[in-house]
Point group: D2
Chain length 339, copies 4
């Protein structure tokens, strides 16, 4: 942490801040510049937020953090890529680019069975589908709840797929955990800290989606919440951020792939469906993601998008999905990956 003093800070002001820093158990290292005085704080800055309270000093202009705020998610803590093993031949974060696919919402047995068979045939490994749906409107379809989870699990079992599904309420972690292989935390819940802590005690991996306006730091700190409670199997998922551009549903930040992989050892999955909100853009976005090193993709597939209860406009039909996976194979191969 670097403390920048105000332009007109006098020696006694600097002294006061230095004393406070040392009172807090750190060493203060002052540089007297031509116009500005800065104070470097040296020590093991575990009590970062405490130090931030220095902000109350009127003589201080600003404080500049130097060290990344996270520990467990960072490359300093662990420099090899984390591999999350779901079965002997299904590892997220390994050589294979893992494909998760399925409908936005589970709507009924026929729909989920048909989709499961289609995505399995095309080459997906994991079946996705929502039983608890975060909806902007209280009047929208909220999902089938446990009934949906049962259908999802059944469809996955019959097709030998693994399951990923969203959990929204800390009280539902145990329930959802009975039916899923991976917990999904949605973008709106990225900083639902009680949910994150609850998942930190769970046995299953967690795929954490980046919040609509979450910085990389905040995203990684949310993963840190889960890891700090003991669950180290966290997957980061970029699904588009909110910007001024509203032609697409979100702005998919594909450069987050190399950024997050530079900063963290956790696997990175891309969601081109929510990231673009438009089935015509899902294919190009998926190709970019694989070329840029994504460890997986989560793609919405619906047997009849025009009749979907949610997200029809961003869902692929099975045939289109199948031909996309074929195209992705070529890109994966030249990128040193498998699909």
């Amino acid at each position: 942490m670097i403390v920048v003093m105000k332009n007109k800070a006098e020696e006694k002001d600097v002294k006061k801040v230095e004393n406070r820093i040392e009172e807090l158990g750190y060493r203060a290292h002052t540089i007297q510049g031509t116009n500005k005085t800065v104070i470097g704080i040296v020590g093991d800055l575990d009590r970062r937020e405490l130090v931030e309270s220095l902000g109350g000093y009127v003589e201080i202009e600003k404080m500049v953090p130097i060290q990344e705020p996270y520990k467990l998610v960072g490359r300093t803590f662990k420099d090899t890529a984390t591999e999350i093993k779901l079965s002997d031949d299904l590892i997220i974060g390994g050589k294979k680019v893992v494909i998760m696919a399925g409908p936005c919402s589970i709507e009924g047995e026929e729909q989920i069975m048909e989709t499961a068979r289609a995505v399995k045939k095309a080459g997906a490994s994991i079946l996705r589908g929502g039983a608890f749906k975060p909806r902007t409107s209280p009047y929208s379809f909220q999902g089938l709840g446990e009934e949906g989870l049962k259908l999802l699990k059944k469809a996955a079992d019959e097709t030998c797929l693994k399951v990923i599904t969203e959990v929204m309420d800390p009280r539902d972690v145990e329930l959802v955990g009975r039916y899923t292989d991976i917990f999904q935390v949605g973008a709106r819940n990225m900083q639902n800290f009680y949910l994150l802590k609850e998942l930190g005690h769970a046995e299953l991996p967690v795929m954490l989606k980046r919040g609509l306006s979450a910085s990389y730091n905040e995203f990684l700190m949310a993963a840190e919440y889960i890891m700090s409670e003991g669950n180290y199997n966290v997957i980061l998922c970029e699904r588009g951020i909110r910007t001024f551009e509203d032609y697409t549903r979100n702005t998919l930040d594909l450069v987050s792939i190399p950024v997050l992989k530079n900063l963290s050892h956790l696997p990175v999955v891309i969601d081109p469906s929510h990231g673009t909100g438009d089935w015509r853009l899902v294919g190009p976005a998926a190709k970019g993601a694989v070329a840029m090193g994504a460890d997986g993709l989560t793609i919405e597939v619906h047997p009849e998008p025009a009749k979907a209860l949610s997200d029809g406009q961003q869902s692929l039909k099975p045939a289109k999905f199948e031909s996309l996976l074929e195209e992705l194979e070529g890109i994966a191969e030249v990128s040193g990956r498998d699909l």
Copy 2:
């Protein structure tokens, strides 16, 4: 809802969409333009999201919602301003601009008692303070929990102030409700739908803070979640949005005051402390808010900001707070309000 067909849509494509609309129970009203065909959907669009599933049709270019998505929060439902009565002489949404003040976090008995006395003396009506703190880092001070709630309640009782405090977990609604007069929902939880639903069944008013990147529509829809469960006493609180400008902690959207009051009958409170993140800017922001018609302000006050465990840089000292309230009185008066 207006459906815009693609440029080259043929008559049979238009027919197909018209049929689907009527299948869904609405009337389709088609306008054939020079280059574009648009279809107006007429009827009581309760099943808005269902209609959105039309998005799966490849012949459709886009759909444009015409009607506001909310009902209970809107001016169409209720055109007179909602007044929330906390006591005989304390109404939020009435003539008086209500002042909520106190520390970011409750840190101990002495701190909260001292602050309570100071803000009461200056003219505040409601004591604020966090016992459960949403913190970006799991290693930051997370609040004193129930112990904090007890201290807050005690300080408020001794100074005849009402209490507002944050609830983050749906499992804590009952607990927090024992100590507070108003529930606060933080910006990060604005779309924590399970929490909102739980609060929809509570007896006490709820102050809902706007999410960091929530549009007005999303903000109002979150309030709709609470109201749709039966709790009509909702207060909207603007506390700054996230933009490209990072000199201030957030960009305080003061124009939201007239916008929200045009769209909704609910009271609007401004948080200049989080909205700016800088105690030097709190005063000007508070003045603007009162001049623009805010129904209340929530301001962080700390007896010794330099030693605060959180948010020291945006907290006012009691003396500064007191002189601010004096200045606000003049603005309230020329604006036809009391303070």
Copy 3:
């Protein structure tokens, strides 16, 4: 400037950077932290950008600027508020809140004469109106050009108002200067550096509008371009920034008033018309601006908004404008200002 070395930087890497810094004529002051090494660069950092080229070193993680990049616009250079005198009793940046008003575009003699008389009567001091219009579409009305300037000047002369109008092309500075009292630089041209330089040689004051996504620093640096060429009479104008919220045309950043006044000595004017894009919001925004310390307002007024060739939806009718100014007077007075 603080250079932050990568986590694994070795002593020789640090040495290399230190040497380069000293080669460039500065002193390097290194702090060895627990995990990070940072190097403070001390000296008169005129060659800021040169120093930035250090970024090419792979051993460096990032560089953190400490000093503000501007000189002439800053409080360090001049700590008293700049007053720009247009006539004996018309000063921008003084006690009086200066009102600029008029139509978006000059459309004809009758329109501009009628508007001039109306805004004069209501209490405005300066007549605004565009003769050269920056339009998103090449097919939109582009303004009347010199003919418009003549009408504007004539209307202002007959009503004893001063004139402000936009200049878009460096080749038009001389032409526009013949008719105006203040040059206006539009948001889209805030970083049209050749235009800024040309205006730096002009005799007349310049009102510089903040770019749609310009940070405070970039805004002030654009003013610095003008001042660095010798023209010290620069007025800063906030007119709304671009954010994710598109209900309003822009997000009016009213907190920029105290921020810019803390950082700079230049006067600050607010444009509530472009800032909100909606005539119903202009009044509240103007009130907030005066309460927060704005030195002036620029407001669009049109005798018949429904027939305006541009910006009809954000223009006030003369009667509404007049009653707004009356309301503003009260706020100005309690804020220690005149209107």
Copy 4:
């Protein structure tokens, strides 16, 4: 254009607007919904902005544009991809992904010659380099001007490369045109309409960079300015937009590639150097761009980034650039393109 009337609009209000629409030469087609009345405007909406002036009617809630505002740049005008031929075997917009490379600024003969040779050897077709530099600070290196253009041209000629360089001032179009093969318009000048018009009369192709906060529509309208003056050889260049995320210099919007290609027939080039601002991210971003269908890349290469006068941190060394092009070849091939 769809006009949405306010909730309480009466028949006479609707009539008034209908009359005005027909006065303007269009047909009004009214749909009476359950709560809302909307009016579709039918006709050849050339006078779009005129119609917008309807916004002045207080009975209107909003107007929703249905038709895209551009003509010449759109797929409706021309449905085949535009190919811009620079020489017999160099076409932008054809099968080959065209590589433009070179330093940010031309700094001297040795630097530009060395870079030209290196990028030619690696496989680039076009040499880039700035002689007129748009710099945030007036005190930063502003480029070598005509001297730089001469060096650039000389280096390109000796290595059989084509030239692209930026023009910032409408007065310099003729001068720059003597040395370059393609004009570049920088992001800050995307809406410098006088410059765009001037380039609309030029003989050479123009590469237009997207503004920092320009929507797709605004970007395409800026291209329309050039085309509407007669120059049809326009190349669109995405170079990153401004968002809340400041870890990277900009947020590179790679999804713009399929979006712009759906909306327009013009070629799309990606700038991964400015788009990320970090040489470590240039490679992954370039790979994504090729996989997603970009027609070209513009990449900053500097023989000694650590000593560059600008943008050192985002420049590749020649060796790194060469190996990147090799990797891109594989991706281009599986995507049905050449490099």
